[in-house]
């Protein structure tokens, strides 16, 4: 092996690393490692001055390998690879040691943390010495896009892409477009009609020559990689028979939305047993039909709205569903305008009014004599049937927090503000497009703050409430963001794909074909004439399964070779 000149850079990450890891000691240690030409520490290696330092050192000192000990490579590997490229060095001559997420943030003993950081740096140094220059390939980018879900997110994304001149395949499970928003009457806080928001979108989508709308349909398979996905969709004919259609797309937007919390899971609210306890969606239906009424057809004189049904609780969902507070205020408004004189009470935990116009809306609702009663998380109000002589249908007992008293109020109609939850079939979608779900079932973004619509699978984007509860403006913003991300890539025509894939050394291949069946992507073909296996690099996704299984050691998992990993093993065992 040729000797090399390695530069080691220890990031302090402000104090995130430096407060637990002795960065100066780490520099001194790195200088003693084989083939290390220089080692430095700096406050923020990812900053422009930090990156410039690396670029200048490469050029001035002839460094040919770089190790940065900092955060997770999932955060900044790309940043530093770019810096190497700027300096004229192959970007794969780089390795990161994760001394923040895997060290300074999880340990509380500075001596032990520094010792572990040394081991991780040593692993990276020994590994990078065995790195090889890899060339990235470019592939064609199919401009067509698959949008899964015909709610407000899917409709919006589809229109942006079609408006830019590209074909969109919009797949919707239901028999109509609009998703959950189509079940809503007015929207908070500006009281626009959901129908108005949707009608314009749906009309344009269905009339667009570039958007192929498939109703009663579902995506059953997705193969390929960014720029070159092959989608299989099961479409139902007019006579209800399923038929499969296949097409090529370059990118996919997942906009599958949410489902509402099943209110009967909270047994003591009596949903399903008490006829006048309804969910917010059932109440929306009354509003859309223009008549707020009890089960017996009478007008209610007392309407109670209970917040956080299934949300912000230990037994059900810990998170806030974000839209229910404002929707509840909207109900108070709509009830009072439909039934003047009707008493409205609003039973809440906290009033979350974080968005544009929300606080104003809350103030205006308070001024119209809505009775606000605050209950404590976990101490839910109790609903019971009223006694025969009472002039109302039900009674609600609330341990009211602000007054400290137990208050009983009459109710003719109770509206349960059911929260949002991940769809029960979200897992199927996640498997289909190869993305992950968090512990609540929401799809995980590439980075929660910096890359909120991309996923860990290149070419697959998420928008709207399939990623977490959010309101319409945020959903629309994400839909348009994902469309913009795709259009930016489509505009370039071709796309660079990672240079990490498997390779067969034909001289060592015995032609046993074990790898052929092992590959989940059928990326390994057999050359019957030469009697050797060969990897189709564009199809390979670099899992490395074949490399681990090859009995003759003929398959090299590029950038994760045996030699590189053996060196890292030796290195981390300091």
């Amino acid at each position: 092996m040729q000797s090399c000149k390695i530069g080691v850079y220890i990031c302090q990450c402000g104090t995130n690393i430096a407060k637990m890891v002795d960065c100066e000691a780490l520099v001194a240690f790195a200088e003693t490692l084989p083939e290390v030409a220089l080692a430095k520490t700096y406050k923020y290696m990812c900053s422009n001055p930090g990156q410039d330092m690396i670029v200048q050192d490469i050029q001035a000192n002839g460094l040919d390998r770089v190790v940065v000990a900092a955060c997770s490579p999932r955060m900044h590997e790309r940043t530093f690879r770019n810096a190497l490229q700027v300096a004229g060095l192959n970007p794969y001559f780089f390795e990161m040691a994760n001394i923040r997420e895997h060290c300074s943030w999880v340990h509380d003993d500075p001596v032990a943390a520094t010792q572990k950081a040394k081991a991780l740096v040593r692993g990276a140094v020994l590994r990078v010495a065995r790195h090889e220059a890899l060339e990235r390939k470019t592939v064609d980018m199919c401009p067509e896009v698959l949008v899964i879900g015909g709610g407000i997110a899917g409709l919006t994304a589809a229109l942006d892409i079609a408006d830019a001149g590209h074909r969109v395949h919009l797949v919707e499970r239901q028999g109509s477009l609009g998703g959950n928003l189509a079940r809503i009457d007015l929207t908070a806080p500006f009281l626009n009609a959901a129908r108005d928001l949707l009608t314009e979108r749906i009309t344009r989508v269905t009339e667009s020559e570039r958007i192929d709308v498939m109703l009663h349909s579902r995506v059953v398979n997705l193969d390929g990689f960014i720029g070159n996905y092959r989608a299989t969709v099961e479409v139902r004919d007019a006579d209800g028979l399923p038929r499969k259609t296949e097409f090529l797309v370059g990118n996919v937007i997942v906009a599958t939305g949410y489902q509402e919390f099943e209110a009967s899971r909270i047994t003591h609210y009596g949903y399903g047993k008490l006829p006048n306890v309804v969910t917010s969606f059932e109440f929306e239906l009354m509003l859309r039909h223009g008549r707020i009424q009890m089960a017996d057809g009478h007008l209610p004189r007392f309407v109670s709205i209970i917040h956080c049904v299934g949300s912000r609780s230990q037994e059900f969902h810990g998170y806030c569903s974000r839209v229910c507070c404002m929707t509840a205020l909207k109900y108070a408004h709509e009830v009072r305008s439909a039934i003047p004189g009707c008493h409205v009470s609003d039973i809440y935990i906290d009033m979350h009014a974080f968005g544009k116009g929300h606080e104003d809306f809350y103030r205006r609702s308070s001024e119209v004599k809505t009775l606000f009663l605050m209950y404590r998380k976990g101490d839910r109000p109790v609903i019971r049937r009223a006694d025969p002589g009472d002039t109302c249908d039900m009674l609600i007992e609330v341990n009211e927090q602000l007054s400290g008293e137990t208050i009983e109020i009459p109710a003719d109609l109770v509206v349960l503000m059911v929260g949002m939850e991940a769809r029960s079939d979200a897992h199927e979608v996640a498997r289909l497009v190869n993305i992950s779900q968090d512990k609540e079932g929401w799809f995980i973004e590439s980075h929660p703050k910096l890359d909120p619509v991309a996923t860990t699978t290149d070419g697959v984007y998420i928008a709207g409430t399939c990623a977490a509860p959010k309101d319409i403006p945020d959903t629309v913003a994400q839909a348009r963001a994902s469309a913009a991300r795709i259009l930016a890539k489509v505009a370039r025509g071709r796309i660079e794909v990672d240079a990490v894939y498997a390779e067969v050394d034909e001289a060592r291949c015995s032609g046993c074909r074990i790898c052929n069946d092992l590959c989940p992507y059928s990326a390994i073909e057999f050359d019957a004439v030469k009697k050797v296996s060969r990897v189709i690099s564009a199809v390979c996704k670099a899992c490395g399964a074949c490399g681990a299984a090859c009995p003759s050691g003929a398959i090299k998992a590029r950038h994760f070779t045996d030699a590189q990993i053996f060196a890292q093993i030796e290195g981390v065992l300091l």
Binding site: S72, V106, D109, T456, T457, G544, A545, A548, F560, L573
Partner: protein, 144 residues
């Protein structure tokens, strides 16, 4: 000073490494004994990686992948799972205690679980003392 085991952890990039990152961003503390090596998929973890680590002086090896049914590469974790009992048989023949080598599923959202696995493994290996099969393994691997 009491014996501190040195453990090498092979983590798949998509679930387990991300889960370990989440333990970090959530500031969940765990013992510093596991040194992590990232691979793209648990299916890449050649049994010789585990043998190599033990031969190089590791007192334990942790292998982590996505939960069954959740692999980024469809079914790589099943390949890792199928391979594991065979590896265990080899290690049994060397007389290795069963707690020293472990296969665990850790998803991208299971930072706490990763921390718990590391804590538990460290606690179990500490009373075992240094790994004793190293000389035998080293000799056999040198022959290969």
């Amino acid at each position: 000073m009491s014996f501190e085991p040195r453990i090498v952890g092979f983590l798949c990039n998509w679930c387990s490494y991300t889960g370990a990152d989440l333990a970090g961003t959530s500031r969940i503390h765990y013992p510093p004994n596991v040194h992590i090596i990232r691979v793209m998929c648990s299916a890449r973890i050649d049994p010789t990686f585990v043998l190599k680590a033990l031969a190089q002086g590791a007192d334990g090896v942790l292998v982590c992948g996505c939960h069954p049914g959740d692999c980024h590469y469809t079914d790589g974790n099943y390949k890792a799972m199928r391979r594991f009992p065979l590896l265990k048989r080899v290690l049994d023949a060397y007389g290795l205690e069963k707690d020293r080598v472990r296969l665990e599923w850790v998803s991208a959202s299971e930072g706490q679980r990763f921390a718990d696995v590391v804590s538990d493994m460290t606690e179990r290996i500490r009373p075992l003392g240094p790994c004793r099969i190293r000389p035998g393994l080293q000799a056999d691997m040198a022959e290969r």
